[in-house]
């Protein structure tokens, strides 16, 4: 059986995921998305992986959510509060969601996952750090290059070419 912490975390995570998509204001939506990401970090703590949980808080709650919040602020005011969706697709979308949840859920519940138990101690985060600099170092270098490339690409994309350098200082 699940304990109370798990129950509270799942209510927080799933509830704020629905709120992030359904709240009228995009600003409140992005704050609700922050709740979802923080709830996932709580699940990581429950799963005895504090390193991933802190990484999640630093990267997702700390930077991505703030980045989304600032992008929302750049958008016109009436677009922030306008709900843009296909009313005809809404019922179909809810149906698709329910079919997916029931189908995948029944497959998972019928499978052998229900009996999986473990008594082994959790993985020490020092092992993850050691793995990063020994076995996974080419992937780490590649990831650093991809991140640098993505940041440079984002800067190049968002640069305004119709504004001259003199105007920018004003």
């Amino acid at each position: 059986m699940v304990d109370a912490t798990f129950l509270a975390l799942s209510v927080l995570t799933i509830g704020s995921a629905i709120a992030a998509l359904e709240l009228r204001s995009l600003i409140y939506g992005s704050i609700a998305l922050m709740g979802t990401l923080g709830g996932i970090a709580g699940f990581f703590l429950l799963l005895d992986s504090p390193f991933v949980a802190l990484f999640q808080i630093a990267v997702y709650v700390g930077s991505i959510a703030v980045l989304i919040l600032f992008t929302v602020m750049l958008v016109k005011r009436e677009l922030i509060f306008k709900k843009i969706e296909d009313p005809r697709r809404k019922l179909a979308g809810i149906g698709l969601m329910l079919i997916l949840m029931v189908g995948l859920g029944s497959i998972i519940i019928d499978s052998g996952l229900r009996t999986v138990q473990t008594n082994e101690p959790p993985v020490d985060f020092r092992d993850i750090g050691k793995d990063f600099v020994t076995y996974y170092w080419p992937a780490l270098v590649l990831m650093a290059l991809i991140l640098a490339g993505a940041v440079t690409g984002a800067l190049v994309l968002a640069r305004r070419e119709d504004v001259a350098d003199g105007q920018r200082t004003n």
Partner: protein, 101 residues
């Protein structure tokens, strides 16, 4: 510990369903990015949950890589949305139709 693997997997399936609902219904580009984030987080939750019950450090390492790549994806996606907003003055993806044949 009281929680079992299947509880985490069920939460992850619920998040995946909500994300797919958002991707299929919403036409707001920023909300679609929210849905993609929710789906990526469901996948990460699965990775860490299975890694706890195997137990193996590989799942946590893959989740860390996945979080970092998702950060890059969000940066590029948001700058694409800003460029499209500047061109069309709107964030409705049904209005982005200059590539439509």
């Amino acid at each position: 510990m009281g929680n079992e693997l299947i509880d985490f997997v069920i939460v992850s399936i619920a998040l995946l369903g909500i994300g797919i609902y958002g991707l299929s219904v919403k036409r707001n580009a920023i909300r679609m990015l929210f849905s993609i984030e929710i789906i990526i987080n469901a996948a990460n939750l699965n990775l860490v949950a299975f890694a706890r019950y195997i137990p193996n450090s590989g799942g946590q390492t893959l989740a860390l890589f996945s979080i970092a790549i998702a950060a890059a994806e969000v940066a590029v996606g948001l700058s694409l949305i800003i460029v499209a907003y500047r061109m069309y003055q709107n964030i409705d993806i049904a209005d982005f139709r200059s590539l439509k044949g």
